[in-house]
């Protein structure tokens, strides 16, 4: 059964609290118990508590599949890019190197690449993926477009990304603040203690969105 068309995956790094619940829950998935297929990184712990969860973005034209010499990575009709297929995968690691989001991982002991398949065992029967179910801040959200619009009026989903000359469109959406941020996030207590606040505007290029330059 395919994943229902109206259910989508949304990532909102602004909400992420770095708790790693998603990673732990991923290891509980019945198809790959003990291994997490997703990632969570501090951007720069020395200067911020900001973390970013990374699940497979399920690209419309998956680079991992394009570079696979064994044709082991398939995208099902519902847009989910599946883990490498066992008899085909030669564990060459091309996909690991090529994925612009850094998602696939090579399991040398088993001679196979494994990656996030949006909990296909769950999402294909209409359930939420494990990570998005447990995420305490709902930085990982799985639901309909109507739900996300109703629940997140302050941000907008984007799914087009630019990596050098490569433009990538994905099934999974990233939430980006709608309005220009009025102030930067808090990163240094010393700055918050100053009577005169310091400006820390950072510009982020967003593609395919009316708010071309979004300050975060």
């Amino acid at each position: 059964m395919p994943k229902p068309d109206d259910l989508h995956f949304f990532i909102d790094p602004n909400r992420c609290i770095g708790c790693q619940s998603c990673l732990h829950a991923c290891t509980e998935c019945d198809t790959h118990r003990g291994e997490s297929m997703i990632h969570l990184e501090y951007v720069n712990r020395a200067e911020s508590v900001q973390t970013v969860p990374v699940v497979c973005m399920h690209c419309e034209q998956p680079t991992c599949a394009e570079v696979c010499p064994a044709d082991a990575i398939k995208r099902t009709s519902d847009g989910v890019v599946q883990s490498a297929r066992k008899p085909r995968c030669i564990a060459c690691g091309n996909c690991v190197v090529a994925c612009p989001f850094g998602v696939p991982e090579l399991y040398e002991d088993r001679k196979i690449m494994m990656k996030c398949d949006m909990c296909y065992d769950r999402s294909s029967v209409g359930k939420k993926p494990m990570c998005a179910t447990v995420c305490p801040s709902q930085a990982l959200f799985f639901g309909t477009r109507e739900e996300i619009e109703r629940l997140r009026p302050q941000s907008t989903p984007i799914n087009t990304f630019q990596f050098g000359a490569q433009t990538i469109t994905t099934q999974v959406h990233m939430m980006v603040p709608r309005a220009l941020a009025t102030r930067a996030t808090y990163v240094d207590v010393a700055a918050a203690m100053d009577e005169q606040p310091r400006s820390r505007a950072v510009s982020l290029k967003v593609i395919g969105d009316p708010f071309a330059d979004v300050e975060v």
Binding site: C19, Q20, S21, T27, R45, V134, V189
Partner: protein, 757 residues
């Protein structure tokens, strides 16, 4: 004789903490569970609903429980991995006795012999030194049934006034403040009330790490337009994206609240009508606040004037608001005053007892709420009754079938109890669900006290660090091996369901307590055959008290997915029996009736009015000084819980944050010549600790932070001060003077112990 029987390293070899891992059926992708058991997490006060996958007599995994209304399937890492505490190599499956000739320091004892030994020692000590020579320490992670039974056991069976619990380290400052201000001690509103509010003020709560599920409520409120104010010496994950961050200096919270209230008074951002009709005492508070000018407040608190002004403006002009606080402002020798300071801000705004407006402390432990209501506290009887109140005593003595004169009076707080052990006044101790050797401040003193005990019996499922000193260890039950109720953060009573049986000779805790009573020849009132019977007695005992559970049944809790107390079996207005009272999700609604105010007003005092209390600022005990110029503050990390007895045994959680580190700002680190990852030594008047430094900008440059979940030489509480709030007796964990230097060398333990040990 409660000396540690052998070299601690030998005890650790025998009893851990070792790490559990996903192996066997827990790793298999083909093994199906026999059944799913709907229950709750065993850790914090959020009490997330969870389904445990059970196969045979083993919990092999979990499945989210999305229908449970508080967390909708959400879980933090502790909840996800909680099941790995079961079938653990360190699990105590038999009774133990202290045995210095055994390599691990303990040897097995048949359960019956162990019970006989405990009863014999209690009888011997009580005969020689009186009933008060025995004390009981209990905990707020136990079900309400067990906490009720323990209070009854101490008073009726042991006839000792000396029982207290680890909630003394946790929620008592908030509890005392609530009692003084509202006459009832509970969060005012369900968390769903936050969605749609204008302002949320989070005072001293690392929400993202200590109560992760609350994060989604706060951020959902922000999506709908709420401004979020966070007051903390550290930029925790909830502070990073908040609208206003108040970088308060540790121990200065009451000053901040007074300064903000002063601005509200000056700008007339007050609800005069509410203050006039529903409160008393505003004038005295206003008088006190007069000295807290903006410049003085900024100077004392370390928060810039612009931020204080902004906070006052947002709070003062909001139409709806929520104020949440936690241990950050409560763990102080001024903890009650700090909590009262927040309540004054709430009362001055009049925003309480309405939809989208509320106030509450975020409880830390599983049963942080229920565990503080039914009598395991030294001055309390069931139903949130007062052990010094003659009428309350008569009611409870009647339920327990004893003469009121036989009922002991108030005991002492958990720390004072150790001072009594030190002075030789208490000679025997029974402990359950408490690990004071790790969790109490200045814990080298606690260790010396444990060594002085003539007899110590510990009930536990793992051999915790305190139980190393025990003469007899009785194997108790894990959360999933018993049933009962707990009351979570919102005041919602929920049902814990049994998933598996106790292994070996381990027993459900309430059975162990009853077995001791039986062996003592004092079985009267300890013949319950299941937790529901205990709950039925608790309903009767709580009836007519402020924490009235009389209308709560297991069936109602299961059907409604929780019941908010008070829940009455008789209409408080007419006295007529009612069976369908749904409970009280929101307190203090205008026009509401409660049995104390009897219609005079919404608050639980005879005049129905809330109390403003002067919440004066006092500098912390053992404050920063020339000799100890840096502030030490302590707290939690998301992957560990309390003293780590459970979470330091769960492999995936330990790997997430394996060992404590000293968090410091790069400015401080540079001054001290310490780089990230260096060994650093922190020293206070009580002790030293050597840990690796973590250099981050997310903490005040005058403050260091150490998480407290570890034991022995890694325990932050070697350093903390045993100063206590004069009213609540909560210890001042959140600040003391300290100095830091680059360590001369790696600590000795580094080569010997695993990270979690």
């Amino acid at each position: 004789m409660a000396q540690v029987p052998v070299d601690p390293i030998r005890i650790i070899e025998g009893f851990g903490p070792h790490l559990s891992a996903m192996t066997g059926t827990r790793l298999s992708t083909s093994v199906e569970p026999d059944r799913l058991v709907k229950t709750h997490c065993c850790f914090c006060g959020q009490q997330c609903g969870i389904q445990l996958k059970v196969r045979g007599n083993e919990v092999i995994g979990f499945e989210p429980w999305e229908e449970f209304p508080f967390n909708h399937g959400m879980l933090c890492p502790k909840g996800v991995k909680r099941y790995l505490q079961g079938a653990h190599p360190d699990r105590l499956t038999h009774a133990l006795r202290r045995d210095p000739s055994s390599p691990s320091g303990f040897s097995r004892l048949p359960y019956g012999d162990a019970i006989a030994r405990v009863a014999g020692e209690i009888a011997r000590l009580q005969q020689a030194h009186g009933a008060g020579a025995i004390a009981v320490l209990s905990g707020a992670s136990l079900t309400t049934e067990k906490t009720y039974l323990l209070g009854k056991f101490a008073r009726v069976c042991l006839k000792t006034p000396f029982i207290d619990y680890n909630g003394r380290l946790c929620m008592v400052s908030a509890g005392a403040a609530n009692k003084k201000a509202f006459g009832i001690d509970r969060a005012t509103s369900p968390w769903s009330d936050m969605i749609g509010t204008n302002v949320i003020w989070v005072a001293g709560s690392n929400v993202a790490e200590c109560s992760p599920i609350t994060t989604n409520y706060i951020w959902q409120a922000r999506e709908q337009g709420a401004k979020v104010i966070v007051q903390d010496p550290r930029i925790t994950p909830i502070a990073r994206t908040c609208d206003l961050y108040l970088p308060v200096k540790p121990g200065r919270d009451a000053a901040l609240f007074a300064g903000v209230l002063q601005i509200m008074i000056e700008r007339d951002w007050l609800d005069h009508e509410f203050i006039r009709d529903c409160t008393v005492g505003f004038e005295q508070v206003a008088e006190y606040c007069r000295e807290w000018t903006l410049s003085r407040t900024a100077e004392v608190t370390g928060v810039p004037q612009r931020a204080i002004m902004q906070a006052a403006e947002w709070w003062g002009t909001a139409k709806t608001s929520f104020l949440l606080h936690a241990r950050g402002i409560e763990h102080h020798s001024n903890g009650v005053q700090n909590s009262l300071g927040t309540i004054n801000l709430v009362l001055a705004s009049g925003r309480i007892g309405k939809p989208n407006s509320g106030y509450g402390t975020i409880v830390g432990q599983a049963n942080g709420q229920g565990g503080r209501e039914h009598g395991q506290k030294c001055d309390q009887l069931p139903g949130w009754r007062d052990i010094s109140n003659p009428e309350h005593r008569r009611h409870i003595a009647g339920v327990w079938g004893i003469d009121e004169k036989e009922l002991p009076g108030p005991g002492v707080d958990a720390y004072e109890l150790f001072r009594k052990i030190d002075r030789g006044e208490i000679k025997g101790l029974i402990s359950i669900c408490f690990n004071p050797k790790v969790s109490l401040p200045d814990n080298n003193f606690v260790t010396r006290c444990l060594e002085k005990l003539e007899f110590f019996a510990a009930i536990d499922f793992f051999l915790n660090d305190t139980a190393w000193h025990a003469d007899v260890v009785l194997p108790g039950s894990l959360h999933e091996e018993d049933e009962g109720t707990v009351t979570q953060v919102e005041g919602r009573i929920i049902k814990i369901n049994k998933a598996v049986d106790c292994p070996g000779e381990a027993r459900q805790d309430w059975r162990i307590i009853q077995d001791i009573a039986q062996a003592l020849g004092r079985p009267h009132g300890f013949a319950f055959t299941e937790p529901q019977e205990i709950f039925e007695e608790l309903r009767v005992a709580s009836k007519g008290g402020v924490a009235d559970y009389s209308g709560v049944t297991y069936e109602k809790v299961t059907q409604q997915l929780g019941v908010f107390w008070p829940c009455y079996s008789e209409d408080p207005k007419t006295g007529k029996p009612i069976s369908d009272h749904q409970g009280t999700p929101r307190l203090f609604e205008r026009g509401s009736y409660n049995p104390v105010a009897k219609g005079t007003g919404p608050f639980y005092f005879p005049d129905g009015r809330a109390r403003f209390n002067v919440a004066d600022y006092r500098p912390p005990v053992d404050d920063g000084s020339e000799e100890y110029p840096i502030y030490l503050t302590t707290g939690r990390v998301v992957s560990q819980f309390l003293s780590g007895t459970q979470t330091r045994r769960i492999g995936p959680l330990v790997r997430q944050y394996a060992e404590p580190r000293i968090e410091m700002h790069p400015r401080l680190a540079e001054k001290l010549g310490i780089a990230d990852g260096d060994w650093a030594t922190a020293e206070t008047r009580r002790g030293t600790i050597t840990l690796r430094a973590q250099v981050v900008t997310t903490i005040r440059p005058d403050t260091i932070f150490i998480p407290y979940h570890w034991a022995g030489r890694k325990s932050a509480n070697q350093l903390t001060v045993a100063a206590q709030d004069p009213i609540s007796k909560i210890p001042q964990y959140k600040v003391c003077g300290c100095r830091v230097r680059k360590a001369d060398a790696a600590p000795d333990y580094a080569a010997i112990l695993e990270p979690q040990q």
